[in-house]
Symmetry: C2
Subunit: 374 residues, 2 copies
Amino acid sequence: MTMFPQSPLLLLLCAILIPLPSWTLPFEQKGFWDFGIDGDGGGMTMMMMRDEEEGSAVEELPSPDVPMCPFGCQCHLRVVQCSDLGLSAVPKNIPADTKLLDLQNNRITEVKENDFKGLSNLYALSLVNNKIAKVHPRAFTPLRSMQKLYFSRNLLTEVPKNLPSSLVELRIHENRIKKVPEGAFAGLGRMNCIEMGGNPLQNSGFEPGAFKGLKLNYLRISEAKLTGVPKDLPDSLHELHLDHNQIQAIELEDLSRYKNVYRLGLGYNQIRMIENGSLTFVPNLRELHLENNRLSRIPGGLPDMKYLQVVYLHSNNISRVGINDFCPQGFGMKRTFYNGISLFANPVNYWEVQPATFRCVSDRLAIQFGNYKK
Amino acid sequence: MTMFPQSPLLLLLCAILIPLPSWTLPFEQKGFWDFGIDGDGGGMTMMMMRDEEEGSAVEELPSPDVPMCPFGCQCHLRVVQCSDLGLSAVPKNIPADTKLLDLQNNRITEVKENDFKGLSNLYALSLVNNKIAKVHPRAFTPLRSMQKLYFSRNLLTEVPKNLPSSLVELRIHENRIKKVPEGAFAGLGRMNCIEMGGNPLQNSGFEPGAFKGLKLNYLRISEAKLTGVPKDLPDSLHELHLDHNQIQAIELEDLSRYKNVYRLGLGYNQIRMIENGSLTFVPNLRELHLENNRLSRIPGGLPDMKYLQVVYLHSNNISRVGINDFCPQGFGMKRTFYNGISLFANPVNYWEVQPATFRCVSDRLAIQFGNYKK
């Protein structure tokens, strides 16, 4: 009960469960009506006539099964659903056993120190699409079980501090983060996935050690202002998505750290050049997305990629495709066949490419060519 | 396998699991590259040289644990997380055992017939914040286990047809729905909650029988164009939220159908009058929100509401409060004390109200008065 000092509906609950007089219980109700305090605060008057005799005259208690739930929210099976309510703050009276709290599409401007007090069972929290610019540094401390934090589409200028060590997934797309300082994710050893696209992040915005301690599988920094592949990302990555940036080139050592990557998204950049040998650092690659760049030839090294299955190269400036650009010359070099190659919207014409170029493709339908569109 | 005729990554999976030559399996791959087909379609050329000898020369299969997952999405513990990817269509290759599919914050314009084919285990689907104006009438048919459908912030002009009978919760806030025809929710006997606020719904937009067959607990039609309480809503409702409409008055019979309601949200309307006796039809009411209306007096009948605990009346035009407006005169009439009454921002002055008016309030802090703000 001390977990909910500001909870009038817990009072309600207690009023149901505990014999009267319930007002003698040590609840602090301060704060419940805070939203109604006049600007100067001086106009607020408390009125109460406590008539003990009348109180004791109250009849036997009803037993209504009215669960505690913030007004307007819908509480069901430990999910507290408060989206689209026009809320300007995190509501009070969230049940302590809540597993999932959905606060998306409101007008919350700030996360305060005690907003999530007592929610030690919370597994997932969505604050997507609010106006949050400020998060108290201890606001997330009570959320000892939180694995998923969805914070996209807000006004954050930094990654929230002191995220709980239980966190597995952080989505913080479309905020105003320009800088990720050293140790921004310190203590988050269980983290698996970060999605931080849609922020005005330049390469210089990542301080050395920004990702220190993280063993991520998935990282997405799309729709940002990167001009090259960041050097200092976790080497555990399986998936790296850097589409919709301003990357100019892939240089020899750019991928050397990311030897576990099997999905690499580099579409919608300004890549003119992929230095020969770059791809030897990612021998496990299964999917390579390079569509909508400025490549004038097929990247070197594809025939040596034993597991590569999908290559997107459409909407580039490729004017010729050589017979050995995709497939190895010897037998048995490629362990999995391609099942997706896209080449349309390039200046190369299909009749200029020899059919044998695709001898290591699983199915003819796996190749998308098409004419170059002027 | 026949559930994923358009799935190249299922092919990938099969290529891993099944001995080569995998291309002899009866997959239809048509459609995978559809997005790349030129306007006239005539430019597309299929190229494939099938060299059986080379095929058979492929070495032993690798065993990479690369799960099937749409590119850019993050698939983890049967959750497929594809938000914020700029997708213009529902992606292919969604694993068949997916429980939760999150497609929010994309640019999807249409839900097509086969978009969810095979997803018979899906429990929750979020399509929030897309540009969906069109839903194929059989699109949701495969979703035999779907309990939650989040469809807010799209361009729908009608409630999607043929929703699965498993559905428990539908959120369809902020669309363009003007009309709910008879039988719009036919067959949805398990439905518990509908949130359909933020649509341009007038009272006349609900055809008689629009909610036929529904046993809802929760209904929200806020931020719409209602001028009165709709007459024909499910009589099972526990919570009815009609805030932010243009309701002018509560007439005697308006609430007569809703005898189970314990939370009633009528804030932010234009209510001048609540006919005496109206509230006798909702004897189980716990919370009554009437803030930001045009009431000039306290609604009649409050002292008889045995379980009423919270009454919001702030920001009205109330100029006097009588000593018996809230509390019964006799002993023992009220079974639960008020724990929240708001009266601030009304022209009544606190010194004009006798303290005994609040003799059935649990705590002096439960009353918010404050001065009338000019």
